[in-house]
């Protein structure tokens, strides 16, 4: 198993180089002139300005030279300073966010992480619980319900689902508003009395001992969390159900029953433990669907996280922000998948020895 993990770890940098090249190659689809426009902030763009920018940033250099400059930075022919270089933490300037991309990431990432973490609660509890119930009551009403629930889940486009819950629970019933906070609290949070420790409202409000703000923040999270987690519930439910069904058919379960163990002990000790191993492996898929989901969910519910930044950037061709989001999601996704594979090998001796 050690050899397997070492092999995976050795491949990782190779994959990351490939990923960054792919991202960079996508940007190269745009010609030098189009890309130069991304650097000039003020209108009009004269031919002279464009040429100066192309020269300054080396936009007509050969592909690999430009790629290298993008990675480690490039000497500015006018000032002699090094400019750019994602490895130096310089991700460029976000036109839609009107700030350096790295600042945008720092400010918006906590908001997205908060949303994703809270979403994990219903995903895991409801998804796994319902999936297990469905398998234990195979072909009974709860199983049929779970199956229909799951299949509706991954047939429902996130944006339609999000707009529908907004229509019902906000526009019709007025229970859960979009945004992050009600206006009076939003003003207060912006002012001096409230310290933003983490930029995650739920944590900050508790640290500021403002439980009214905490409750208000939670109320605003209900709909986005439901929207973001629905697809993943469905997926987890399905995997848990079929994994449980398979575990129930194993010989060791028959043996356990034959020994005279109660059905409860059989389920808890013999079935559930084995059934949940494959469930752990879809953690990667779940992270991917969350990363896809936040783009849509944050846009609909007007949440200023990374996802809505990516959507806004894509719409106005803010390449720097888009590349940063791509890079971020790719690094996260690859790392999660690696972790899952290693965990799988550790947890399941059949994989380790096979």
């Amino acid at each position: 198993m050690t050899a397997y993990i070492i092999r995976r770890l050795l491949i990782l940098p190779l994959i990351m180089v490939g990923v960054s090249m792919l991202i960079f190659a996508m940007m190269q689809i745009l010609g030098p002139v189009e890309r130069s426009a991304l650097y000039i902030r003020d209108f009009p763009k004269t031919q002279g300005q464009i040429d100066a920018v192309i020269r300054r940033y080396g936009l007509d250099d050969p592909f690999f030279k430009q790629y290298w400059s993008w990675l480690v930075g490039r000497e500015d022919p006018e000032t002699g300073n090094t400019i750019g270089g994602i490895l130096r933490g310089d991700l460029g300037f976000s036109r839609t966010g009107r700030e350096p991309v790295i600042d945008l990431l720092k400010r918006r990432l906590p908001i997205t992480i908060e949303l994703a973490l809270v979403s994990m609660v219903p995903i895991i509890t409801i998804g796994v619980w319902l999936g297990m119930q469905a398998a234990l009551h195979h072909n009974k009403p709860i199983d049929q319900f779970a199956r229909i629930f799951a299949i509706l889940g991954y047939s429902f486009p996130t944006f339609v689902f999000g707009l529908l819950v907004l229509l019902i629970f906000y526009a019709k019933l007025g229970w859960f508003p979009p945004g992050r906070l009600s206006t009076q609290f939003a003003l207060e949070v912006g002012r001096g009395g409230f310290t933003n420790y983490t930029n995650m409202l739920t944590i900050d409000s508790i640290m500021n001992r403002r439980f009214d703000i905490f409750l208000d923040a939670l109320r605003h999270m209900v709909l986005p969390v439901i929207t973001l987690s629905y697809l993943s519930w469905a997926l987890l439910l399905k995997v848990t159900r079929s994994s449980m069904l398979e575990a129930l058919r194993q010989d060791y379960v028959t043996t356990a029953r034959a020994k005279g163990l109660s059905e409860r002990v059989v389920t808890n000790r013999h079935v559930r433990k084995n059934a949940l191993i494959p469930v752990a492996t879809i953690a990667g898929t779940t992270v991917a669907s969350l990363l896809n989901g936040v783009v849509i969910t944050e846009t609909i519910f007007n949440i200023p996280g990374l996802g809505s930044a990516a959507a806004a950037a894509a719409l106005s061709l803010d390449v720097m922000t888009m590349l940063a989001y791509a890079l971020f999601t790719a690094v996260l996704f690859v790392s999660v998948n690696l972790l899952v594979d290693i965990m799988y090998a550790v947890l399941d001796p059949r994989v380790r020895l096979g």
């Binding site: 299949i151 047939s155 486009p157 944006f159 707009l163 896809n292 846009t299 894509a314 996704f333």
Partner: protein, 349 residues
């Protein structure tokens, strides 16, 4: 693990003579695997409802000119006719003043009770007719699904087959390439590529379709590679090889037909999923131009009315239900196919 050791569900019920006769007839025609597949799909209530839904969309797409006639004979049917330019959406039943459909089909007056065309399902802001958009949107959906899924499958099959068949360093390189592409969450990758393609190619179905193909083929490649690794050492392949068959002949005639079944499952699931992703891109404003007959594009008009959705519910509900049903249809069929083809599920329900 065989059926006989299974304590939960009893062994398959023996087929009666008539069924057996029927199965033999089908088997002779398409072979045993296909016969089992077709029989399975046609006897499972879930997949039957899926097939009915898909058939429904095909019928709507075919008879779109009768269901929602364009304003005139030279009309580009992929564009939704607009009744003026007003920003305020009109509710279902509002009178249709400008560029109304040129003809009144036979079903219209008896079913709706109107003598003249009205906006059956209302209009969006900019006065695009929602009913026309949803009806003709079924053509867009089926076209997009067909183009994207077939292209990704073809690319994936070629790459996966090459990797699996030749193995060694070819396999190693191709699979690393696949890993690079799957490092992006699907929608994120497609969103970025599509938004870069739009200024170059202009607004049409192509930027988003190409982006979905570029990030969509990897699933097929991995699947087929695995299948081929499992099939290529079988005796009949070895026999054909010994008889002097070329590589291409081996792959196309002996390996692919036996490795293709799991691909079918993904193919049918993708027919739904791809269209939903395409709609999500349209919803975000990437891809087709405003007024294109695309369900996601129609829903995107709702974004301007987030706070008053109860008033403009028809902008979401009609195209949204079309998307849900379309996705549901393909998912039902795909799920049933998976259960039929899963060897662990054989002989069970």
């Amino acid at each position: 693990m065989t059926a006989s050791t299974n304590p939960i569900s009893p062994v398959a019920i023996p087929l009666d003579d008539q069924n057996l006769e029927e199965q033999r007839w089908l088997e002779r025609l398409v072979g045993p695997e296909w016969a089992r597949l077709i029989k399975g799909v046609l006897t499972n209530p879930l997949s039957i409802s899926g097939l009915v839904i898909i058939l429904g969309f095909i019928l709507v797409a075919t008879f779109a000119p009768v269901l929602a006639p364009p304003p005139d004979a030279n009309w580009d049917t992929t564009l939704i006719p607009r009744d003026g330019f007003g920003p305020e959406p009109k509710p279902p039943g509002a009178a249709w003043r400008k560029s109304a459909p040129g003809t009144i089909p036979f079903w219209y007056t008896p079913l709706t009770g109107h003598e003249e065309w009205v906006h059956l399902w209302g209009t969006t802001s900019g006065q695009y007719d929602i009913y026309y958009g949803v009806i003709w949107g079924s053509r867009t959906a089926l076209t997009i699904g067909g183009i994207v899924v077939l292209s990704s499958a073809l690319i994936g099959i070629i790459i996966g087959a090459t990797a699996g068949f030749y193995g060694g360093w070819v396999d190693e390189i191709l699979m690393r390439v696949v890993e690079i592409f799957i490092a992006f969450p699907f929608l994120v990758g497609a969103l970025i590529l599509a938004s870069i393609l739009v200024p170059i190619m202009g607004r049409s179905i192509w930027p988003a379709s190409i982006a979905l193909i570029v990030f969509g083929w990897t699933g097929y490649a991995r699947l087929l590679r695995g299948d081929i690794l499992a099939t290529k050492e079988r005796d009949y392949v070895q026999a054909a090889r010994a008889a002097g068959a070329t590589d291409l002949h081996l792959i196309v005639r002996h390996i692919l037909p036996n490795a293709i079944f799991p691909t079918l499952v993904v193919l049918s699931l993708d027919m739904g999923a791809i269209v939903l992703s395409f709609a999500a891109l349209s919803f975000l404003g990437i891809g087709v131009q405003e007024g294109y007959t695309d369900w996601g594009q129609i829903v995107s008009f709702a974004r301007s009315f987030i706070l008053s959705l109860d008033q403009y519910w028809y902008i979401i509900v009609y195209p949204g239900m079309a998307l849900l049903l379309y996705g549901l249809g393909w998912n039902l069929v795909g799920d049933a196919l998976r259960d039929i083809l899963d060897p662990k599920m054989r002989g069970k329900r």
